[in-house]
Symmetry: T
Subunit: 71 residues, 12 copies
């Protein structure tokens, strides 16, 4: 068995009408549909659009890291 | 009619005793008193002051973008 | 009496299962066990780990500033 | 007469279907409708949106500097 | 129907002998061969190589964002 | 009375033949002609031009923050 | 034949008990199992975890670039 | 005797009504009350607060480095 | 023959009334008057000055890399 | 038992005549003399001084993170 | 006569026992011994070393720009 | 004798098939052929190219500082 692992990082943008945390969770949920064993995330940018003077959606860019299975 | 628009970005600091999201909304609400058609925001910095070992206010610096009406 | 103060900044990582705000508060609470008169904080980085496709913990790196008492 | 001047910088986003240079010029043209004596610009970010696999608009964020007249 | 979407960002380097805009378009054209509904791009870096004292190719690193279809 | 305030930040460039501190003060003085209750400043960049091998003017870009009165 | 190419960049984290160079090589080796013609790498971040006061693993985040074959 | 040393860096904010240099010196003076053999400093940020349209205090964040004595 | 080379990078600012690409080429042309075998360039900053509400010159700061001949 | 931990980060500069890895290890070794349970490190900067055209010492600035025991 | 110029930027570190401004001037004075027509400078970093709890020298890294004469 | 010195910084890229440290040393060795009294280096970027799934060369961009002799 190898004594080291290799990880890959993907960059996603999650969105939510509710909160920054919810936007993060939405991106992770979407990502875990196709990739197992997600390990960690890093927030890269927080922004959003505005509708009628209210936050419409929070949009959070994050990197999601996971171990490459064969490694 | 022009086939392009020009946007302006303002830098504000919203604050809230409750949450980061609320501080963002407070800055947007204040800004929309004088400017219509706010379009998007970008979080630049998140900080706050501390009172008796508790977060006193969250202070979120954000840029708010809107289309210049004549453009 | 001096007409100026000197401040020190520490770098901590607070974590929480609940929210970014709670992770910030947890770091401040821990820090205020040993240091009085904490003044302000600045968020440096927001990340977290993922368990079974859900955010396990939010991990927020922040700097906490306080006045050096003798200054 | 003062031996120094003060300048102000505004942040705008110009757009164009044609080129980055045209997006810059569009922002400057819009800005000069209301402010005289624009002096310089600095490109902050270049991005755009995509329509049917083609660049729809180039969107260039720039800062525009001008001397405050009374200074 | 979900009230939020998730987006993915890819990082590509487009090149062109002609212009920065053409290098951007080349990367987008290549990317749209395999991915539909590309939404936006962000320029990350502009560089190039030099041949006989002339720009050989412009090389533009950009991030391309698109909505994950199932989201 | 609201329990929170909103602040606005402007970006200016002050100049001075004498010193960096004087360039900062000149920008603040100019800004306070039209805006009351300036609260804080942040230095963004320090540069200048050179005349005959001597500093001609120090040019200091700074952001100036103030509370929006109605907030 | 086209007179230009398009490249893609992936972000990986290689690890090694031995050295930074070995961590880089491990990420490249893993990546080349599935992608041919890797061209270049760029180190983004170097970190690691500590076990009993010794470096446990070096963890090197790097971007790996390769030409898209059809381009 | 070891052929290498280890250094530690602290982050402080010095302030002064007079000048940036004086704010730097004030932070160093405060720091040297408790730590001997301070070696170097690096300015991280320069800001200040404004009182009645005048600089109230310059506030300079700096890192101060010193050799760990046992090293 | 050595199995490695060393490169040097110079920082120049090219300008042009026409385009960003032309400003880049002008800097490279000037640089190649005195240095042979220029290899690559990296754009560091794009700015310009404004004359009568029109871009006067594009000013592009770039680094130019070349192999040191003896290496 | 608490369901969250708080971590502290220190900034050190390790040095070595041999390698970057050795400089990292030297800083960690020195740090672990006074603090138990060091968890991770992040390289912030790599530099060194030169003696007679040879690297004298590698100097690596790193942040070292550890869990606050009471947390 | 050409309608455009090319500029070169050098990176220097000036030092002074007195002030940041004096360190800047010292670097410019040294540079103008060998190069005529220096045009502008940009401060990149401010640091210094400490002797007996006092600032020993301010060390200011700056870029100095000048027009290439033939351009 | 002057009580201050001025330093110059050059930007080079060293390469090596062996290691990052060797690439640094190669750049310093090349630089010291023409300049005496090199003082220090700062690593700016680490990258490399890949040949057959192996690191071909490490390429390390570094700044090298030295005192201007007349200063």
């Amino acid at each position: 068995m190898s004594d080291h692992h290799t990880y890959k990082k993907l960059e996603l943008v999650g969105s939510s009408k509710i909160s920054i945390e919810d936007a993060i969770q939405n991106a992770i949920s979407e990502c875990s549909k196709s990739i197992k064993n997600l390990d960690w995330f890093e927030v890269v940018e927080t922004r959003g659009h505005i509708v009628n003077g209210q936050v419409g959606h929070f949009q959070v860019t994050l990197k999601i890291g996971f171990r490459i299975e064969s490694s």
